[in-house]
Subunit: 394 residues, 2 copies
């Protein structure tokens, strides 16, 4: 027997993060590898109360099929979230997703024929690269500096390729780099998308988790021609275990995304959508987000302070204004994957940077998460990391 | 602006059932259109108890990310469900899905390049046709008689096409026809799949809901060469609102399906998987299934009796031994879609048969669901349907 799989399967690989997470299940390991929210922040009691209310008042509805676009009262709550990033919308502009990862798959499904181009930041979220690869795109990479994508490189790609379908951008506290786009770059991006007639996928899972500085308007709020699709999620401001995200999209694109949702899984869970809407009715999510920001901001500072103290010269790192991740750059001769194996031996883990590049892979870098380790372990973990790096110094 | 979507979007259309369901939300309509389980059977209190236990004992784990293949204790329960259809497996043969509709998408994603063939029953589940279309297959249709697929037609397709990737079969109480494959046809199907080296996707949402007669072994239990992928779901034996289904697949295929799952949505909801496992720990699901069987069997009989009594000569219908649907064949000159519009005027609804054919569409047929209407409404609805049909008689 030799079953023949689709050609796309040659490109798809298992996420290195998911495989690494299995490795770091050992509780003696200090893990900066995953992207896990701090479990101590989960409002377990409040969720339980909301669930019970839904079961008592609307249990049969909650266990039944529901509409493809999502539970209306939940979409009404999402309208409020969109207002926070400067977007005025109605529930009909929204589609509830089974986590925002699903949106990455849908966007490529809607736009990509084999060989079509997607412009991505370099580095970028590796889960997006994996999702997109199922549709056999060509990736065009644009370097990310401290202000966002390099606009000259971006325009060069747009000028030289007539089959660019969309630009994928994580403009706030990017995974993996922790970088945030400036207002100037945001406006320039919209201008170029208009000029070259391409769509934009704005992935915004961390935007509300800002520790300091001014909140930047979302790309969608700057959109002048209905070409930005916004993707949000409750994973980082509430819980990833409920797998609830959303699309906010212009009607012409939403029409396609809705059909794709029908084919892909009919709808997201009725019961979780109703429970989440009830939770948002009965609790002050803004207060909850503030608590998360306080905790993550504190942990980020501890990580930055420890890196400043322990890391040798020649190693640099970003200092994010929000989100869950920061990015470490090593001397050119070092290799993050090799370092990663040695770090595991010293019971500390991170994600080697190579996984976050589409084609032009750089290995002298890695990603650190600071949201889910207690403060004392962050300091200790960075100390161990510093030892590993020092041993690799030439 | 003229955004260019992927070529596949030309083929994808909104499900007629989902759109019809919106129309039948009017509570004065007697609807045989949807495929809804009877909401009065949902064990709301038992689910609430299980949820509370999970929240009290493992709340933080439930709200956190979990593994891609699914929550282990839930997969251990699914092992028991597989035993009921004659399959011996372990949790590592299983992948938890966000509803079994997701499996349709994944299977096509794993196997189909544009132009590859999928062999389908005629008629077949329209949600499968929509999911598959995203991967631009060619459909090869095989007529369904009272014993299963026509084996001569099937072999002819296999002989004449060297790019058949899989055969899609709903062998028990098929949606839409209510038909069940005989043992002889099941064995012959496996034999032909082996001979022509193709995979089989067995979609089995209703197999456990058998009112009468002998349970047939699943296609996967007859598989001799690791080429059958089995798809199951809790939607019909428990609740569709939780969106939990599963794949049971041979290792070589599972490896691909797992990668696809990672890209598509990372994992299914941790919290719902844990709550479902707890519910299955604390309750006798077999007892619950028996109650569903009693209710649906009774409703099916009432529908059959009413159709026998009221339908005019020249109209035939299947008499399923289980499941949720039966199939009505009209005289050739009648059109199910036209009849459907007139039926809505008389406040009764069904799904016109045309939607269930891949290419060779027949319109003189329709599907009736009997699971979710109370008994008195079934009799009244069939009476109204009979009037509509009689008015269309020539």
């Amino acid at each position: 027997m030799a079953l023949k799989f689709a050609r796309r399967m040659d490109n798809m690989k298992a996420s290195e993060i998911r495989e690494l997470l299995a490795l770091t299940a050992d509780p003696s390991i200090i893990s900066f590898a995953g992207g896990l929210p701090a479990p101590e922040m989960f409002p377990v009691e409040a969720w339980k109360a909301a669930s019970n209310k839904v079961m008592d008042e609307k249990g049969r509805q909650a266990l039944q099929y529901g509409p493809t676009d999502g539970y209306l009262p939940l979409r009404e709550h999402i309208v409020k979230r969109m207002a926070k990033v400067g977007v005025t919308c109605t529930p009909s502009d929204l589609l509830v997703l089974s986590g925002s990862q699903q949106g990455l798959d849908f966007m490529a499904k809607a736009f990509i024929d084999p060989g079509d181009c997607i412009i991505v930041e370099s580095p970028t979220y590796l889960g997006a690269l994996n999702a997109f690869k199922a549709y056999e795109p060509k990736f065009l990479e644009v370097e990310l500096d401290d202000q966002g994508m390099n606009m000259e490189q971006l325009e060069k790609h747009l000028k030289e390729n007539d089959n660019v379908k969309f630009i994928y951008a994580i403009s706030d506290f990017q995974n993996p780099s922790g970088k945030t786009w400036t207002m100037e770059r945001r406006k320039k991006l919209i201008e170029l998308a208009n000029k070259y007639d391409v769509a934009i996928l704005e992935d915004n899972p961390y935007g509300e988790l800002r520790f300091e500085g001014e909140i930047q308007p979302s790309l969608q709020s700057l959109d002048t021609e209905n070409r930005v699709v916004f993707m949000g999620t409750f994973s980082k401001i509430f819980s990833p275990g409920i797998r609830i995200g959303w699309f906010c999209a212009p009607p012409e694109i939403m029409d396609r995304l809705n059909k794709i949702k029908q084919g892909a899984d009919l709808q997201s869970s009725t019961i979780l959508q109703m429970e989440l809407a009830q939770f948002l009715d009965d609790n002050d999510i803004e207060e909850h987000i503030k608590k998360i920001i306080d905790l993550y901001g504190k942990r980020k500072n501890i990580m930055i302070d420890a890196m400043t103290k322990y890391f040798p010269e020649g190693v640099t790192f970003t200092n994010p204004e929000g989100g869950l991740f920061l990015w470490v750059e090593l001397p050119e001769y070092m290799n993050g994957r090799e370092l990663g194996m040695k770090a595991i031996e010293k019971k500390v883990a991170f994600v080697p940077g190579g996984a976050f590049f589409a084609d032009n892979v750089r290995e002298n870098c890695f990603r650190c998460n600071y949201s889910c380790m207690p403060e004392d372990k962050i300091e200790e973990g960075v100390k161990r990391l510093a030892e590993v790096i020092k041993e690799a110094l030439r």
